[in-house]
């Protein structure tokens, strides 16, 4: 059942006289119990989306539906959502206990009930020993847990999170990520989580939504999107180092890259035709340097990153990246051959920038 | 979306309405009154008399005289106060001076102590011949006595000295912090280039403080122009009207002589000057940029 739905959302901002369209007809349909991560570059409207769902901002055009009902005119306090803001917003003048209890106090829940629920949530997040401390005495990780506790104590089934892990140290962040996943598995709220960190997104999400240019570019299973990105922007955004994109042309039963031929995978044969211009996408981890490789090139640069290395290879006019386990030490200027895992090839239409396969599927559906 | 703007509007209504009622409305009302003959005689039934009050002011009233006085008061006070404050700030700014905090704490007292009360105290000090100034202090310093009841010059001396006492700490503080914010390196480099004290002062200190001096001068000018209490309490405008400024005279016309209409007219004239000055300040110092 559609639990949180954004329909054709438009939002404009005015900064010092200049108007910017942040959201341009955005659509997002989220099912109950999903852990949705909205991933996108900074400043492109992720926080705006959360605020619109919460009712703190009103969209210029379009509708918000919560739990199947229109929520446009419902004020924030009646939407029954909870939020964990980026800077946690723990009230410095209240103790930890009072902070967590705050939503319940506002709702006039009786004292004993408040105590019970606060203890429940605090124990779950392992902060029950901090309840009478003041926020100034807490570490970053502890504050983050207090913020989450406050969001959970209401029992709201929709939780909005605005980059809650970005203020934590790298090691704490990894631990926090695990705890979050565990929490969601146990309690099963619908979480809408916003971040610009890919690793976080891929690790946490049950569904991934990629935000760019005011709309959701892709929505679905994270690995599906990773393996079959629906357009060039998504392809190069997801993945570090990014996917290699090379211009090519379709030949009889091969694709011409520079002056090298690569065979066409079966699934494309019916879709592309000879003479068509094409953009080939292949991820660095799906390339290997071996002696039977189809592509030939020269090593330009080597980045040794510990467990693996990124090898930058010049092939004709193109510079591509290959990931290799740091066993062989490559040298600049070395001539290498590169093999391709053909099954992992992705093709894009240069004029629409869309994934050729998905375009074909669209055409079929429209018929 | 428009609903939001309406809602926000409610937050502003209190301050806007209060400003409207307590600043704009009285001024407008005052303007209206200045065209009537409202006074003790004509309190319940008063008539519209047009520009009569203004004519009285300019022809028979003491417009030029009061303008002169207001200028003497404002410029005289400002020049002395600022020089004192600036000089003290320079003295305190010397890095090898000891006991700075003690001096600063003592020197700031005149400003910290409530001005109104200080004025009442000073009034008792200057009264001739009972006051301490004429009985003890001035003779000790071999200075001539000051009698503000008979001599205009004496009256001005009394006023300006008292005003200096009240205000020099403010200027001292402002200039001191401005001086402190000039990077020491500028002076060090000048020393290396062989600059003398005077050169350093003229070429480094003054230009760095230009903005501060301008801002302080202009805002203090407006403040002193409208400063009612010192003159009202010390000389009451006397002897005669030789120390009356616009604001004191207007107040007295209204409350001592109950010539409300005339008092209103004088207030208007003084206010016009203030508005003009305000506009100059806005244009010259671009203060508004920090607001929005």
């Amino acid at each position: 059942m559609s639990y949180v739905k954004l329909e054709n959302i438009w939002k404009e901002y005015e900064v010092k006289g200049k108007k910017t369209q942040v959201l341009k007809g955005l659509n997002l349909d989220i099912e109950k119990g999903e852990f949705v991560v909205v991933l996108g570059p900074s400043g492109e409207g992720k926080t705006t989306i959360l605020k619109i769902i919460a009712g703190l901002l009103r969209q210029d055009k379009g509708h918000v539906y919560l739990r199947g009902e229109l929520a446009d005119d419902v004020p924030p306090k009646d939407r029954r959502v909870a939020m964990v803001p980026q800077n946690y917003a723990i009230y410095p003048f209240m103790s930890v206990y009072d902070n967590i209890a705050f939503p319940l106090k506002v709702a006039h829940v009786p004292k004993e009930e408040i105590k019970k629920r606060v203890m429940e949530v605090a124990t779950m997040l392992r902060i029950d020993n901090l309840l009478d401390r003041k926020p100034s005495q807490l570490s970053g990780g502890q504050m983050q847990r207090v913020a989450i506790a406050r969001a959970l104590v209401k029992g709201a089934d929709i939780i909005l999170m605005d980059e809650p892990l970005s203020n934590l140290d790298a090691q704490v962040r990894v631990l926090a990520r695990e705890e979050l996943k565990q929490l969601q598995r146990n309690l099963k709220p619908t979480i809408i989580y916003v971040t610009h960190d890919q690793v976080e997104a891929l690790s946490l999400a049950s569904k991934l939504a990629i935000l760019h240019d005011g709309i959701i570019q892709a929505y679905g299973d994270p690995m599906d999107i990773y393996r079959e990105p629906n357009n060039i922007w998504v392809a190069s955004f997801l993945g570090n180092p990014p996917m290699n994109l090379i211009k090519g042309e379709v030949g009889k039963d091969y694709i011409l890259l520079e002056n090298m031929r690569i065979p066409i995978p079966e699934k494309f044969k019916k879709i592309i035709s000879e003479g068509q211009k094409i953009i080939v996408g292949i991820r660095p981890e799906d390339l290997m340097i071996n002696d039977n490789g189809i592509l030939e090139g020269t090593v330009e640069m080597v980045e040794d990153l510990g467990p693996y290395s990124i090898i930058h290879v010049k092939i004709g006019q193109n510079l591509i990246r290959v990931i290799e386990k740091s066993v062989a030490r490559r040298e600049r200027g070395e001539k290498v051959k590169i093999g391709i895992d053909i099954a992992k090839l992705t093709l894009f239409n240069p004029s629409t920038e869309k994934n050729v396969l998905l375009e074909a599927v669209e055409r079929v559906i429209r018929k | 979306m428009n609903k939001q703007k309406l809602y926000s509007f409610f937050y502003i209504i209190p301050i806007v309405s209060i400003t409207l009622f307590l600043f704009i409305f009285p001024l407008v009302y005052s303007l209206y009154i200045s065209f009537t003959n409202l006074s003790e005689l004509h309190f319940i039934h008063y008539n519209y008399v047009g520009l009569v009050n203004y004519i009285i002011i300019f022809k028979y009233g003491y417009f030029l005289e009061l303008l002169k006085n207001t200028l003497i008061w404002t410029v005289g006070s400002l020049v002395t106060m600022m020089s004192l404050g600036f000089g003290l700030a320079l003295l305190l700014n010397q890095s090898d001076l000891k006991g700075k905090s003690v001096f600063y704490a003592i020197l700031i007292l005149p400003w910290a102590f409530p001005g109104f009360i200080s004025l009442l105290i000073w009034q008792g000090l200057w009264v001739d011949p009972y006051g301490m100034m004429n009985r003890l202090i001035l003779p000790t310093l071999h200075l001539p006595k000051v009698n503000s009841l008979t001599s205009t010059t004496d009256a001005w001396i009394e006023l300006i000295v008292t005003n200096d006492w009240l205000s020099f700490p403010y200027f001292m503080t402002v200039f001191y912090s401005a001086l402190q914010s000039i990077p020491k390196e500028l002076y060090d480099i000048a020393d290396l280039d062989g600059a003398g004290i005077l050169t350093k002062f003229v070429k480094i200190t003054l230009p760095s403080l230009k903005r501060t001096i301008a801002f302080v001068f202009i805002t203090s000018f407006v403040f002193t122009w409208n400063n009612f209490y010192p003159i009202y309490i010390l000389t009451g405008g006397g002897p005669g009207i030789s120390t009356e400024t616009f604001i004191v005279y207007a107040y007295q016309e209204a409350f001592s002589y109950s010539n409300f209409a005339l008092g209103a007219a004088w207030s208007m004239i003084s206010t016009i000057f203030v508005i003009v000055l305000a506009i100059i300040v806005i244009k010259y110092t671009h203060i508004l940029d920090s607001f929005t």
Binding site: K77, F102 | Y11, G87, V222, N226, L288
Partner: protein, 292 residues
């Protein structure tokens, strides 16, 4: 020898500085010392004040005792102080609400014509109380507001406008997520403002309260014109004016009583003033330094 010359110049410079500073310190502290000593003397009037009173052999508390217990002119000092306290506290409370609401709106909400509003407010700060005293009196006379309520209404805009500006800057520095979270948790925007933002902006609240309090407490011009007829309603400033012998010289009390009143009123207000100055510099430096 160049070094010797340099040393001599340095000593001369420092000597000169110390002399000037000491002279100015005497100048600064003398009137306050004088009134302090007078309050502990038993001199009935200015004439009988002698030099020996300034370096007393005996300390008399009679002035203070008299001040606290006796009736003066139909009222009494404690009564007048109480009146002032009521007036000043009410002004403080209303000013806080007004200033904070406005500051919040200017900071967070999308208000139509924000810039013109700011300009307008800035210009208004150029009008001191005394410039609007005459028209305010006339206006309030018409509406039967020549009483405490009228005074409170008249005092609040002055503080509130300036305080609103500081409130806006301080609230700018508070991340909006605090009140947003409160709104999600069930408070209305106004509720969030009251319970959360005001707590977070406590320094500004305190500053506004102090400014409003001292501004109202120390006013004379308006209170004098409004309240003179009714002695029992006088404020402490009017009382002090009377005690200094300026209202009705014939029925003025002894001078040492005035001195005692001056001391009792002056010292706490001086302390409040210093506190408020510290808070203001802290507020300004916070804003200049850390931007969140």
């Amino acid at each position: 020898m160049a070094i010797r010359r340099y040393k001599i110049l340095k000593i001369l410079r420092l000597l000169f500085s110390y002399i000037i500073l000491i002279i100015m310190s005497f100048f600064a502290i003398f009137p306050l010392y004088y009134v302090f000593m007078t309050s502990f003397s038993n001199a009935p009037n200015l004439i009988s004040l002698s030099i020996s009173d300034l370096i007393p052999k005996h300390i008399y508390f009679t002035a203070y005792k008299y001040l606290i217990s006796t009736n003066l002119y139909g009222g009494s000092f404690p009564l007048w102080v109480r009146n002032s306290l009521i007036l000043a506290s009410s002004t403080a409370i209303i000013s806080v609400l007004l200033a904070l609401i406005t500051g919040y709106a200017l900071s967070r909400l999308d208000i139509p014509a924000k810039k013109t509003l700011a300009t307008f407010i800035y210009i208004v700060t150029f009008f001191p109380y005394t410039a609007t005293a005459v028209p305010l009196y006339l206006l309030f006379a018409k509406f039967h507001l020549l009483n405490y309520i009228g005074l409170i209404l008249a005092y609040t805009p002055g503080t509130s406008i300036f305080a609103a500006f500081i409130a806006k800057l301080s609230i700018d520095a508070i991340p909006s997520s605090y009140e947003e979270i409160a709104m999600i948790d069930g408070l209305s925007r106004f509720g969030a403002f009251l319970r959360i933002v005001m707590r977070l902006a406590l320094p500004v609240v305190a500053l506004t309260a102090i400014l409003g309090f001292t501004g109202a407490y120390l006013d004379f011009a308006l209170a004098y014109s409004f309240l003179l007829p009714n002695v029992k309603e006088w404020t402490a400033t009017i009382g002090l004016y009377y005690m200094a012998g300026l209202l009705n010289p014939a029925s003025a009390p002894q001078y040492n009583i005035f001195a005692a009143g001056a001391v009792l009123m002056g010292i706490p207000l001086m302390a409040l003033f210093i506190v408020s100055q510290r808070m203001m510099t802290k507020a300004y430096s916070n804003l200049a330094g850390v931007k969140q």
